[in-house]
Amino acid sequence: MTIKNEKTNPKHMKIATHDFRMKLFNKYFVVVALLFFSQSLSWASDSDPLANRQNRIITGRITDAATGEPLAGAKVEAKGLSIATATNADGLYDLEISSGAEILMVSSIGYQTSEIQINGRSKIDITLASDERRVEEVIVVGYGTQSKEKVTGAVNQVGAEVFQNRPIVNLAQGLQGAIPNLNISFGDGQLNRGGNFNLRGFTSINGGSPLILIDGTPGEINQLNPEDVESVTVLKDASSAAIYGARAAFGVVLVTTKKGKEGRPQIRYTNNFGTGSPIRIPRVLLNSLEHARIQNDAYRGYAGTDAPGLNAVIDYLEQREADPSLPELGIDASGNFIRGASTDWYGEFYNDNMPFSKNYISISGANDNTNYFLSVGHEKRDGIYRVETDNLKKYSLRFKLDKQLAGWINVFNNTELNQGVYDTPNRYVTDGGYSVYRYLSLYANPYEAIRTANGNYTLAGMSTFGQMTDAGRTIEKRQLLKSTLGFRTNFLDNRLKVNGDYTYFVTQDRNDIQNFRQTYEDRNNSITTFNGPDYYRSSFGENKHHIINLFAEFEQRFNHHNFKGLIGYNQELYQIDNFFARRDGNITRDLGSLNLTNGIPTLGAGKAEWALQGYFTRLNYDYQSKYLVEFNGRYDGTSRFDRKTRFGFFPSVSAGWVVSNEDFFSPISSVVNTLKFRGSYGSLGNQALEGNQLKNSYAYISSLDPYTLSRLLEVGGQRPLAVSAPALIPFNLTWETSTTLNGGFDFSMMNNRLDVGFDYYIRDTKDMLTKGQQQPAVLGATEPRENAADLRTKGWELSLKWNDRFQLLDKPFSYNFSVVLSDNRSHITRFNNPNKLLSDTYYEGMEVGEIWGYKTLGFFQTDDESASHADQSRLRLFTGMPLAGDIKFEDTDGSGRIDFGSNTVGDPGDLQIIGNTTPRYAYGINAGFNWYNFSLDVFLQGIGKRQFYPGPESAVFWGFYNRWNQPVYEHIAGNYWSPENPDAYFPRLRAYEALSNDRSLGATQTRYLQDASYLRLKNVTVGYSLPQSVVSKAKMQGVSVFFSGENLYEWTKLSRAFDPEGINDDEEGGRTNGQGFVYPMMRTFTFGLEINF
C-alpha cells in the first residue's frame, strides 16, 4: 500500500463537473432502485457534494496495487462516522468529512480493506492490494474478458492447475471431469486419440459439439500442448455463447494460452517420463484341454455334433498331458497340424511397459511495450503392442509477441506450429475389414499356437502377431500451423477499443499405409499366402481456415451505471481438399512408396468449402455491480443453405443480481461472502451437419458423385468409375436452432472457504435436420432431409469448492476439495415417425438413449418347464422348443408368444424399456493438500448411472456364445448353466446364440444388461518443491519434482470384458464389429521435474 500526496489536478475537476451533469440521469436510477431497496438511499445523499459545506473535502484516486488500474465502485469512508462514498469509473472519489475524521477506510470486493491516517491531507491516492484468498477472477468471455463478479451467463473456468503435472497427451484428458457438464469421452486408449467434447448432454440428432476456440479463433484442441495453456473457459448457455452465433449452438470452449509476465524473463523447463500398461484386457481360461472341451460342448449344444476338428485337438491335448514331451503342434498322417499348445494370447499380445517422455521449455517475459512467450515441446510415447509396437511423437512450438507501437495501438502475433506422428502396425487384417482385436478374439484359444516348429506363423499367429510384425505399418502425420495477426487500439482513455485480427489455420494430414500380403504355414512345411491385401496407399488432406474478426468495444461509466458495448464482424472460410492414391503390389519390403508398386492403382479426391459471415453485438449494463444485464445478438449467414434461408438472427438476454453487494446483505456478509443470482434466455443457430463433410457443405445442391465400382466389367480390367442418381434435395433447408433457458446462482461463504455454483437449464433444439417423413420404399431414394425434429434437454450442474489453510507443525497446511456434478436428460419432442416404430431411430416422446429389451426370468430348469412356457420361437436359432438351461423370457403381454408385437411403442409385444445408454450424473472429485514443500493431489472421475447392452458381435463378452471357436473367457468359465450349476450367469453351453439379435442371447434383455457406471481414480500426484535456500544457491527460482499415477483404479459393476470408457465400437474401423474391440485404456506412472529459472 502506498500513499501519494498530490495537488488537485484539472482533470479531476473536469470529471467532477461531469458527475454533476449526470446527476439527473443518476437520480432516475436511484428512484428505480429505491422502489426495491430503500437501503440504497444512503448512497445518493452521501454523494451529494453540495451538502455540509462546513466540512472539508478529501479527493484522490484508488488503484489496483498490482496493475495500477483504477478501481471503480470502491467504498471510501471515514471510519466510525458513517460518511462514505464510492469511486467513479476512473477510480476517483471525493469525500466530505467532518473535522473529527481521522482515519479513511477503503474497501472493495476482492481487495484487502485498508485504513489510512488522514493527517490533515486533502488529497489521498490509495492503492489496494488484492485479497489473496479471493483474487478478482477474470473470466474469458467471447471477444474479451469480464470479472467473474459480473458474469451473468453460465460460465466455468479452470486454470492450469487441472492439467499441469499430469502425464496427459492432450488437453482433453486434463479437462475430463474438471468442469461440470463438459463431458469428454475418448472411446479407447490409442496414443493419438483425441477427446470428444460435449456440453450439457445430447445436443442434436445431427451431433454437434461445442465450438472450441484457442485464443479466440478455431483451433485443434487435441493437438495443443497442454503446457501452453493458461486457462480454459466454458460458455454453456445461449447468452454467453451467443456472440459466436452459428457455430456455438452447443456451447463454446475457450482456451487461452499463456503470455509473458511483467518482470525479468522467465524460463520454465519441465520433464516427464514414465511408463504405462494396458488395463482391463480380456482374460481367457488358460487350461487348453478344459477350454477345448467347453467349446466342443458349446458346439454340440448348437449342432448336436462335435465341433469341426476339435476332437483331434482334445485327443492330442490328452496325449500331451500324458507325455509333455510332445510338441505344441502335432502333425497327423497327411501333414496337417494338430493344435495342442498352451498360449496366453492376450498376455503375449499386450505390452506392460510402455515408456514415454515429455520435455517442454518456455521463455516468457514482458516489459513496457513488449510481451513475449516462446515455447517448444517434445513428446514420445510407446504403445501397447508387445511386438512392433505403435509409437507417437509430438512436437509443438508456440510464438507469441505483443508490441505496443504507440499509446493507442498495439499489434500482436500468435503462431502455433505442431506436428504429431503416429506410427502403428496395420491393425486391419483384411482390406477394410476387421481389426486385429477382433482377430485376437477369434484365435485367443490357448490350444492355438502362434508359431510352428519351423518358426513360421500359424494362421492364428499370422492374423494377430503376424499382422503386427509383417503386414506393414501405417504412419499418420498431422501437422498444424495457426497464425493470428492482429491489432488492438484504444481511444478516449481506453473507453473505445477497435480490434481486429486475421487467422490462417491449416491442418495437414498425411497418411501412408504400406500393407503386405502375409504367409503362414497351413500344413507342415507348406506355406500358404493369406488372402490379404498388398498395397501402398498415400493420402493427403488439407483443411484451411481463414478467419477475420473485427470488433469495437465501448465502455462508459456514469457514477454507478456501467455500460459496455461491443459490435463486430466475423467471417470464416473453410476449405477442404484431400486426395488419396493407392496401388497394389509392393515390389519390395524394404522401402515404401507409391513408386515402388506395380499393381492396380486407385485414386480419389474431394474438395469443398463453406463460409460463414456474421455481425454481432453485445451490450452490458450494470448498476453498482449489483444489477447486471446483458444483451447479445448475432446475425449470421452460412453458405450451406440456399440464399432464401441463409441468414438467421439469434438474440439472447441475461441478467444477474449480486445480492451480496446490497447493503441489506451486510449483516450476514461475514457468513455468506458473496451471493449472485443469474438468469438467461436466448437462441443460437446451428449450421453444422454431421456426416460427410464434402456432401454436407452443399446439402441444398443436387450433384452426382463419381465413385469407383467394386467390381470388374472387363476381362483383366480394373474397377471402373461410376455415377448414380443424385440424392433427393431438401426443399427448404434452414437453420437448426438451440434455445436455452438458464438459471443459476453462485455463492461463497465462511470467509470464502466454500464456493458453490449451480445452474439449471432447459435447452430446446428445434428444426433439427433429419430424414423426412418416412416414404414408401418404392420411392427408391432416401427421403430428402427436412428440418423436422425437435429435442428438449434438461439438466443441471453443481460445483462445490472448499479450500482452507492452517498451521500444522508450525508450517502452513493448505488443502482444497472440489466436486463437480452434473446431469442431463433429453427427450425427442418432434420426429417423423407417426407410427412410433421402434425400428426407427427416434419417435416423439422418446428419451434419448433408451434401451428396449425383453425381461429375462432366468433359465428353464427343466425341458417340461419350457414346454409349458410361452412360445419363444422368435428368439431362437433352431426349431424346437428351448431346453433346460436356455433363457426364459417373460411373456409380459400375456400373448403366449415372446415377440415384439408390431414393433411400435403402442404395441411393443414383450419389449419394454430396460435401461438407457446416456451417461448420467457425471462427476469429478478433486482433493489437494499442501504442507511444507509437499503436495498431494487426488482426482477421481466417474459416471453415476449408465446402462449398456453388449452387441451380438461383442465376442470379448459372449466368447463362444457368439461363435463356438471363440475363447472361453474367465468370466464365462464355470459360470454357465448345468444341472449342477442352475444359478449360473450364462445359459447352457450353446454356440451361436449371441450371433444376431433374434437369438436368445443376442436379443436385448435384462439379464445381460450392463451397469456401465464407474468411478475411476484418474490421477494421484505427489509433489515436492526443493527448499528456496537450496534452489537459490543454484541460481534458480524454483525446482519441484512430482510422481504421478494415471487411471490407477476403477470401481464398476461392468463386466470385465469392457473398459467403462471403451464400451463402444472401434473408433476408426468404420465398421461396427460389436463393442469392446478397442485399443485398451492405459495406466501410467510418471516422474516429473519442473525448473523455473
Binding site: R300, A303, G304, T305, D306, P308, N311, A333, W408, T489, F491, V498, T528, N531, Y569, Q571, D584, I600, A608, E609, W610, A611, L612, G637, R643, L694, Y698, I701, S702, S703, P706, L709, S710, R711, L712, E714, V715, Q718, R719, A722, V723, S724, A725, P726, L728, G772, Q774, Q775, P776, A777, V778, L779, G780, N835, L837, S839, L877, T879, S902, N965
Partner: protein, 586 residues
C-alpha cells in the same frame, strides 16, 4: 483530433473489408458434377450405366442352391425349413427400390441430342435391360408389384398406389427387353450387357412366366401360358440361330469342370459374367465354402445325385439295389458331369500334383457325403476364388429352348438335337431319343404334376447341367413343386454303423458311429450320429441331417415372399400376399 482521424481511418478500412464481397457465401461443389452438365457425352452414359452392374448377382451364384433341394447345409435355410416370417422393414424383406430409382433417373436424363443416336439407343437399351431384370426379380419374389416407369419424388401420389398385376409387369418387362434386344450392341463382352444377354434374359423371363402361369392355375392366367412359352422359344431360337455363342468343347471328362474352374470366362459359352481378378484382389469365397468345415458344410442331396443318368443313358433307378449302393459303386458309370460336380474316387483338386493322394469326400465339409467341386479352382488359390461366375451361359438358353418346346409339345427330335442333345454330346452321353423316352419312375415321383416323359427328361437335364448355379429354387417355384423343399433331404447310404470304404480301394475311410471311439483308427474320419444326425432307417440307411426338424411348405402361401409390415402401414393400398399374417390396419 489526430486520434479521431486514426479511428475514422480504421473504421473506414473495416467497412471496406467487410462489405466488399457480397458473394462470399455463394459456394458450389468442387469435386462433384451437377446433373445439368452431365449426360452430354457417350462416356457420361457409360459412367452412369456402370452403376447398374452391381445389381447383377455375384458371389451368391454358387450358393443360391443352398435354399433348394439340391443342397443340405448345417444351418437350414429358413426358406427350406418354412420358417420365413413377415419382416418389419423393407430392406430385410427385399422390398427395395433404389435400383429402379437409379435406372429411371437415367432414362429421364440420358436422351440428349449431343450424343449419337446409336450410342443413346445402346445405353438406353442397357438401362431398360436392367429395369427388366429388376422387375423380373420383384415378380419372382412378390408376384404382383407396382410398376413405375419414371422416378418418383416426395409428394407423388403414385407412391401410395396399389400393386399392378403381374401381367402388366411382365408385358412391361418384355417391352423393355424388346427395346434392349433391338438397340444394344452385339459384340461379345463377357462383363457387360450385350444384345445377346438381353435375348437370353427374354427367354428366361418368358419361360419362367409361361410355366408359372401354366402350373399355377389358381392365378387364372394359364390361357396366356402358351403364348409366353412361344416367346421363350422364339427368343432362344433366335439366339441359337444368330448369336456367336456355342458350347465349350473338350475332353468329356474334364470340359465341364474346367469351364467353371477357369479364371477367364469362356468366350463362346459365357454370355454375361461376374468377373473377379487376382490382380485387383477381388475374389469370392467359393473355394473356402466347399473346402472348409466352417462355411455351412454344404452337402449335395441324394435327390440331385440320383438325377444323373448312367453312362448308358438309362436312369440310375434302373440299377438293381440302386438305393443300397455304397458311395464308390453309386458314382460308378454315371453321366460324366457327376464326377465333375462332386468328389468321386480318384478326385484331385485342380493344380494338385498327380502324385498326391486323391481327395475323398470330407463329411465335415459336406454333411451328406456329396461334396461339391463345381467352381472350385486350383489348389494354389487356397480359399480365395477368382473364377468368373456365369449370369447367363449358352447352356441355359439351350435348356430354355428345350423346355419351352417340350411344354408346348413341340420338342421334336431335330429340335432336341439342336438344344438339349448338344449338352449330352459334349459329355459323351447318349442323346435323348424323343420317341423312345419313357418316364423314369423316380423323376415322375419327384415332379408329381407332370406326366410327359419328355418334360421330365428336360427337367432332369436342366437340374444336372445347371446344378449349383442358382436356378433350382425358382425352377421349383414355377413348376409348383415347392413341396420338394419340405421333403427329407438324404445323404449317402450306409448299410449300418461301423467303418466303411469310400473309394473302393479296400481301406476304410469313414466311421459311422454313435460316439467317437476312444482310440480312433488313423486315417478314418468319423461321422458321429446324434440328435441332429441320423441314418434314415435307424441302424442303416441314408444320412439325414436335422431329422427332428419338421419342414413345412404351405401351398397357398410359400410360393411368394411376404411384404414388409412397415410398408403395409405406410401405404394402405398395398396388400399382403395370401396367407401371410395380415397386420391390423387402422
Amino acid at each position: 483530433m489526430k486520434k479521431i482521424q486514426k479511428f475514422i481511418l480504421l473504421l473506414a478500412g473495416s467497412v471496406i473489408l467487410t462489405s466488399c464481397d457480397s458473394d462470399f457465401l455463394e459456394r458450389y461443389p468442387q469435386s462433384e458434377i451437377s446433373p445439368q452438365v452431365f449426360f452430354n457425352t457417350e462416356s457420361d452414359l457409360e459412367l452412369y450405366t456402370n452403376s447398374f452392374y452391381t445389381y447383377l448377382p455375384g458371389n451368391n451364384i454358387p450358393t443360391d442352391d443352398f435354399s433348394s433341394d439340391n443342397v443340405n447345409v448345417s444351418g437350414l435355410d429358413e426358406l427350406v425349413a418354412g420358417l420365413r416370417r413377415v419382416p418389419s422393414d423393407a430392406a430385410s424383406a427385399g422390398w427395395t427400390w433404389s435400383q429402379l430409382y437409379n435406372i429411371n433417373y437415367f432414362l429421364e436424363h440420358y436422351d440428349k441430342p449431343s450424343i449419337s443416336e446409336e450410342a443413346r439407343s445402346h445405353y438406353g437399351g442397357i438401362a431398360r435391360f436392367f429395369r427388366a431384370y429388376f422387375y423380373f426379380e420383384k415378380v419372382k419374389r412378390f408376384g404382383d408389384v407396382p410398376w413405375y416407369g419414371r422416378s418418383l419424388n416426395v409428394g407423388d401420389p403414385e407412391l401410395f398406389k396399389a400393386r399392378d398385376s403381374r401381367t402388366l409387369i411382365i408385358d412391361s418387362i418384355k417391352a423393355d427387353l424388346n427395346f434392349a434386344i433391338n438397340n444394344i450392341r452385339s459384340a461379345k463382352t463377357p462383363g457387360r450387357i450385350n444384345k445377346w444377354a438381353a435375348l437370353a434374359l427374354k427367354s428366361r423371363v418368358c419361360l419362367f412366366e409361361g410355366t408359372f402361369r401354366k402350373y399355377h392355375t389358381n392365378l387364372g392366367l394359364h390361357s396366356s401360358a402358351d403364348a409366353l412359352l412361344e416367346e421363350a422359344a422364339e427368343a432362344a431360337d433366335l439366339f441359337i440361330r444368330t448369336s456367336p455363342y456355342k458350347l465349350a468343347q473338350g475332353n468329356p471328362n474334364t470340359v465341364y469342370l474346367n469351364l467353371f474352374a477357369s479364371e477367364t470366362p469362356h468366350s463362346d459359352e459365357y454370355i454375361l459374367t461376374r468377373l473377379y481378378g487376382l490382380d485387383v484382389n477381388m475374389s469370392h469365397p467359393t473355394n473356402d465354402i466347399f473346402t472348409s468345415a466352417t462355411r455351412g458344410n454344404p452337402g449335395l442331396t441324394k435327390s440331385l445325385i440320383d438325377s444323373y443318368l448312367l453312362t448308358n443313358g438309362k436312369p440310375f433307378s434302373s440299377l438293381p439295389n440302386y438305393d443300397e449302393l455304397p458311395f464308390w459303386e453309386e458314382v460308378k458309370n454315371r453321366d460324366p458331369r457327376l464326377a465333375q460336380t462332386i468328389r468321386t474316387p480318384g478326385y484331385r483338386r485342380i493344380g494338385a500334383p498327380a502324385t498326391s493322394a486323391p481327395l475323398k469326400p470330407d463329411y465335415a465339409n459336406a454333411l451328406t457325403g456329396y461334396q461339391n467341386i463345381k467352381f472350385v479352382s486350383s489348389v494354389e488359390r487356397g480359399t480365395a476364388s477368382y473364377t468368373p461366375l456365369p449370369i447367363f451361359r449358352y447352356a441355359e438358353v439351350l435348356l430354355n429352348y428345350a423346355e419351352a418346346m417340350a411344354e408346348l409339345g413341340k420338342l421334336t427330335q431335330p429340335e432336341a438335337n439342336r438344344s438339349i442333345n448338344l449338352l449330352r454330346d459334349r459329355v459323351d452321353m447318349p442323346r435323348i431319343s424323343v420317341d423312345a423316352v419313357t418316364a423314369d419312375p423316380q423323376l415322375a415321383d419327384l415332379y408329381n404334376n407332370v406326366s410327359d416323359p419328355l418334360i421330365l427328361e428336360v427337367r432332369r437335364e436342366r437340374r444336372v447341367e445347371l446344378a449349383m448355379e442358382g436356378f433350382r429354387y425358382y425352377d421349383l417355384m414355377r413348376w409348383k413343386q415347392g413341396r420338394l423343399l419340405a421333403e427329407t433331404f438324404y445323404g449317402a447310404y450306409f448299410p449300418g454303423k461301423g467303418i466303411f470304404d469310400l473309394d473302393g480301394d479296400g481301406t476304410d475311410d469313414i466311421g459311422i458311429v454313435d460316439t467317437r471311439p476312444s482310440s480312433p483308427v488313423s486315417g478314418v474320419q468319423y461321422f458321429i450320429l446324434g440328435s441332429d444326425r441320423a441314418l434314415s432307417e435307424g441302424n442303416k440307411g441314408n444320412i439325414i441331417i436335422h431329422p427332428n426338424i419338421e419342414k413345412v411348405f404351405a401351398e397357398g402361401k410359400d410360393y411368394l415372399y411376404p411384404l414388409p409390415l412397415n410398408e403395409l402401414i405406410l401405404n394402405k393400398q398395398l396388400n399382403q400376399n395370401p396367407e401371410w399374417d395380415d397386420v391390423e390396419r387402422d
